[in-house]
């Protein structure tokens, strides 16, 4: 292994963009250093975003919603009282990710851009996602892989934040060589059928500067729940984020997003089409849960995820009804 890299503290966002074209953006490093140690990433240059304090703000403006700087740490999100009160799905997702030490360092932007945890990908296997010819998980150890949306590659996207932000219909502010663009998070992630070697649409030199979360309608409630195999730190086996409006005992609007089931944070169409107008009673809740993942095609070891996801959706709806 023969890597060299330079570590640069950019003076401005423009300088960061210019430098990042031929290097890697470096935030907390909790994912990137792991990829480097495992010989998966070989950046020539680390552009240290921590040098840019303008990316660290949490702001809320009337009418415009919430703006979360990409460099805000997971712990800052988890402990923010305004978020706990008005956007609980965000603080719950942040608080359930990784461990206290990693949450002190890991950032929101880095969390959204982290690479998959598929053990073949992280291990010494030249699989499709690394430019090789085959997927080892398809017929291999695939207990934690996806049940829907896989095509050639069967990862699940590991970000907890992305699932919460998808339910809240957040947008990403992206700055790059071509200027600024605003992209709904539902358009940010890439399915393997489109390109099995990348997870996001980010181009070289592009940086997420902040995440914009729209103000939720009056009467909205949001929640994030995550199933993991042990109660200490672990990635989600399945996660469910809901941001719903409830009126007179029935759902009037909003979204449910699923994590741990697909290569991208997942908005199940049928599930989301079943929400509006359905009563939050036992029948309604059963109907909604049964509409989830009807197009799933589990692999040999992961059929349990479909049942788990439906049961978790029931739990979430019951908690919002009660």
């Amino acid at each position: 292994m023969n890597q060299q890299f330079e570590y640069i503290n950019p003076q401005s966002l423009d300088e960061a963009v210019k430098l990042a074209g031929q290097g890697s953006v470096y935030a907390g490093g909790t994912d990137l250093l792991g990829l480097m140690k495992n010989d998966i990433a070989h950046p020539q240059r680390l552009v240290n975003l921590k040098a840019l304090p303008e990316l660290k703000a949490v702001e809320r403006q009337k009418g415009k919603g919430l703006r979360l700087g990409a460099l805000v740490t997971l712990n800052e999100l988890a402990e923010n009282e305004m978020l706990q009160k008005d956007f609980p799905a965000i603080s719950q997702a942040a608080g359930s990710a990784a461990s206290p030490q990693l949450r002190n360092v890991g950032t929101l932007g880095g969390n959204l851009c982290q690479r998959p945890r598929c053990w073949y990908f992280r291990g010494d296997f030249d699989c499709l996602r690394k430019g090789g010819a085959t997927c080892f998980a398809m017929d291999g150890e695939n207990k934690y892989h996806c049940v829907v949306g896989g095509d050639g590659c069967y990862i699940v996207h590991p970000s907890d934040m992305a699932v919460a932000l998808l339910a809240l219909e957040a947008k990403l502010e992206i700055y790059g060589p071509g200027g600024q663009r605003l992209l709904p998070i539902s358009h940010f992630y890439v399915l393997p059928e489109d390109d099995p070697t990348v997870e996001t649409v980010l181009q070289p030199g592009e940086i997420i500067t902040s995440v914009i979360v729209p103000e939720q309608p009056v009467g909205s409630r949001s929640v994030f729940v995550k199933f993991r195999e042990r109660s200490a730190w672990d990635f989600a086996v399945v996660s469910v984020a809901a941001a719903l409006q409830v009126q007179n005992g029935a759902i009037s609007g909003g979204k449910i997003a699923l994590g741990g089931v697909a290569p991208v944070p997942w908005l199940d169409k049928k599930l989301n089409n079943t929400l509006a107008g359905t009563a939050l009673d036992e029948n309604g809740i059963n109907k909604i849960a049964a509409s989830a993942l009807t197009d799933a095609e589990p692999l040999e070891q992961n059929g349990y995820k479909v049942i788990l996801a439906r049961n978790m959706i029931k739990g979430v709806l019951q908690s919002l009804a009660g």
Binding site: K37, N48, Q101, V105, D139
Partner: protein, 206 residues
């Protein structure tokens, strides 16, 4: 053997991220190149090295390092502070926990350069002369360790926790210390030690 037919044994052998993973130390990567700008007073850094200044256990430290050095490697190999342990070298076990500007971090999983201008506190920094810190004393008294290899990290995590929550509940301790694994499974006594230290702090406050 078809490329896809991987036996369980080969599978496990070739994994890179187990808790006892085989991650290479970053400093084993060949030398890094500096940004070049950091040097003050026209001082020339050795080739492929960068100037780093930070505070460790209250003392100002100034030295040249390759950019690829992790904070744990800086502490152990360059500053001889070997109280900080490295077990997984992958941000998964907590043995290498230190405080960076008052917050617990995995020193194996950040670069030394990330600590530039900041304050690092290691387990050595808890001693006052020969005197043990109340947390260290509690771990001894309550038998909060077996092999002891995870202990410095446990103590630093507990230190960060008690700073934030001086009167933790057992749940606070479980959550606050979830990032520290103990292969000996000494968890009940670790939690008991932290509770005891919190109580003795409370007594000292009165």
């Amino acid at each position: 053997m078809a490329e896809k037919d991987i036996s369980r044994r080969i599978f496990i052998k070739r994994l890179g991220t187990g808790v006892a993973g085989s991650g290479l130390a970053l400093s084993q990567l060949s030398a890094a190149v500096s940004a070049g700008k950091d040097d003050d007073a026209g001082e020339k850094a050795p080739k492929d090295q960068v100037l780093l200044q930070l505070t460790v256990n209250g003392k100002a430290v100034r030295l040249h390092i390759p950019a690829s050095l992790t904070l744990a490697e800086l502490l152990r190999d360059r500053l001889n502070l070997s109280g900080t342990k490295v077990v997984c070298n992958h941000g998964e076990c907590g043995a290498c926990t230190v405080l960076l500007d008052g917050k617990a971090v995995y020193s194996c999983h950040i670069l030394a350069l990330d600590a530039a201008g900041k304050e690092v506190l290691t387990v050595e920094g808890l001693l006052k002369g020969e005197e043990l810190h109340p947390l260290q004393e509690a771990f001894v008294k309550e038998d909060g360790l077996q092999c002891g290899f995870c202990t410095p990290g446990q103590i630093m995590s507990a230190y960060a926790l008690l700073k934030q929550k001086p009167h933790p509940t057992p749940d606070d301790i479980r959550e606050g210390m979830a990032g520290n694994l103990c292969r000996c499974g000494a968890y009940p006594k670790i939690a008991q030690s932290v509770l005891a230290a919190a109580k003795s702090n409370a007594r000292a406050e009165r």
